[in-house]
């Protein structure tokens, strides 16, 4: 296997519960990995572990968590801007909170254009629909940028056409990504490599061309 080793023989879980017993995961630059599996299989657990591991290496990484982790009281602009809080000093950020800088408005606006939220920049996130919130979380990751994107079901709440378009945007912005998706067609169209998880282990881990539709269907079949 080529690429840098991200996780080596690790047991992953939360609390005392082990979800994935013996995980070895590597990621090559340019790879687009999609995780498939039934809900509760351990996709989010794996994504979190991968995120922590890459972040610890100090590489530039962006994240779209499943629960969005937005600040409902702040505007869409501010939530997206939060992706780059660490690039500026406190005074600059404070000023931007009170009255967004022109240059930041434009930069955030460009990203909002990509996800179709340019008109909502000033609205508080709590006033948005579920799909708009999800796109705000995605916009924050796009605005943050970096070598790698980790995304947990980033397009569940938008329609299929828009989902495909957003995945195109993600491919443009991030050469490398690890993502959990539940739409198999979208996954096959987007991924370069598929990881299938069932019963606490990787059942599939292969380039997308080598994965049969039947093997994927088996993932979702009841035990």
């Amino acid at each position: 296997m080529t690429g840098s080793l991200v996780l080596s023989r690790q047991a992953l879980g939360y609390g005392d519960k082990v979800v994935l017993a013996d995980v070895t995961f590597s990621l090559a630059p340019g790879e687009r990995v999609v995780l498939l599996g039934r809900s509760g299989a351990g996709k989010s657990t794996l994504l979190n572990a991968v995120y922590r591991s890459i972040e610890r290496e100090g590489r530039a990484i962006a994240l779209v968590p499943q629960d969005h982790a937005l600040v409902p009281q702040l505007s869409v602009h501010h939530n997206v801007y939060m992706g780059r809080l660490d690039r500026h000093g406190a005074l600059y950020n404070l000023a931007n909170l009170a009255w967004p800088w022109r240059v930041e408005r434009d930069a955030v606006g460009a990203v909002l254009d990509l996800v179709g939220l340019a008109a909502e920049a000033r609205r508080p996130v709590e006033a948005l629909s579920g799909g708009q919130k999800q796109r705000t979380a995605l916009a924050r990751a796009l605005f943050r940028g970096g070598d790698v994107l980790i995304a947990d079901e980033p397009v569940t709440a938008v329609d299929p056409v828009q989902a495909a378009r957003l995945m195109g945007v993600v491919r443009q912005r991030f050469a490398t990504s690890v993502m959990a998706l539940h739409d198999v067609d979208l996954a096959l169209a987007h991924a370069t490599r598929i990881v299938g998880i069932a019963q606490g282990r990787f059942v599939i881990d292969a380039p997308v061309a080598d994965v049969s539709r039947r093997a994927i269907d088996d993932l979702y079949r009841a035990r």
Partner: protein, 512 residues
Amino acid sequence: MISIARASPGLRFTRGGIVAAFLVAGAVMLPFADLAVTGRDPWRELTGLFIGLVTPDFAAIEGLGFALATTLGFAIAAVAVGATTGLALAPFYHWGPIRAVCIAARSIHELFWALLLMQVYGISVATGVMAIALPYAGIFGKVFSEYLDEADRRPREMLGRDTDAISSFLYARLPLAMPEVRTYVLYRLECGIRSSAVLGFIGLPTLGFQLDTYFKQGDYQTVGAILILYFTMIGTIRWWFRWRWAVLYVASAVVALSLVASPPVGSGGLWRFLTSDIVPFPLRGADPTAWATWAAFGDWLRAIAIDAAIPGIIATLVVAQLALILTGLLALAAFPLIVPRVSGRVGSAAGHIGLVVGRSCPEYMLAYIFLQVLGPSMLPAILALGLHNGAIIAHLLGRQGEALCGRLRRDAPRGLDLYGYELVPRLYGSFLALCLYRWEIIIRESAIVGMLGVATLGFYIDNAVNELKLDQVAALLVATVLVTALVDWLSRSVRAAIGAARLSVSEQVCAR
């Protein structure tokens, strides 16, 4: 629901046992309580007051208008200063020294703060604003830090690791706690208006001062007008208060307060106060290595303990204990009044009005009015504290009862059967928790009403202030803080022992 009687090692509390202990303590204290009605003609006073309320006279409106403006001005300015300070302290509340400062600030009542500050700044704007802002800053610091802790952590974890602490706080912590912060500030503004009105009783130009003046003149119709103005101001706060006008309110408060004449204050007053006035008399300029100094200090301490602190503490405990029992009885009897399934639609509407009046009238003002009617004894203080706190608890229990009614089985009883068989058993845990929670507050208030002439701690503190023995004032304040802290600790242990330690946030907001 809350579990019944959790065993703690070696000691076993039951709810029945706790209630019995409180009742027995009350019965033991009853013979020591001075419950005489000493007023010359209480009925005439009472009817006079009633007629005044029904036929209020707003002729003195000019003076009243100014008192109304300053009452609001002091409240708004003090809450603004207190909330800002509290917000600045909240992120550091876990740090011991900051917490200690907050606890010290809030364990001294606004009126006591005012008495102390008057010694330095006279009857002035600074005294009024700081008397409220200081204890409130301590309360805000604690409450805001809880809100910040409870806020969603996920957005913060999303930020890049190099994000500085200030940006992280302003973007990913403060906005998440803001809804609770706003609700609490508004609630505190209501408390601030009450505190501000009450400061008038010790000379600041707020509604309390007007009330005192007209009461002493026997002008009950103007007294009625003042009370009506006051209740209207408190009762309509949710209609006139808008967050987007906050700056305007603060600006108006500054304008209103700028019209208050403040006496000139000599420089160095604060320094003299801190380094000389409140230092125990035998220690001032004395040789700290000499045996005689400390012997004299011991005598000084003993004299304060015997002449003031111990009798004051006993009276405070007696008043508080009896007031607590009255609070409990009233709360249990009154909460069904606002549950429509028990008291009917008309009855519950009337019940709401009664409880709103009982709740929004500050206990100090109630005690003042009762004292005018019944004459000086512990009775007016106990009645006032029982009525005010009973109304607060009844209001909270009634709301819970109303919520319960929505979830009852279809064939549940109505009226008194519902009250006895469904509501009281189900709400009994909350009832005890709320009473225990209020206990500490009742102790604090019992000490304060002493300033009206009932011989609790406040009485001795007021006397010492009048005699300008500020070192004694400081010692008695320390005694008050210790008694309050002791009761706070007792209340928390008992609540933990009966498994009623935690109140919901909304209960805490209202029960504080």
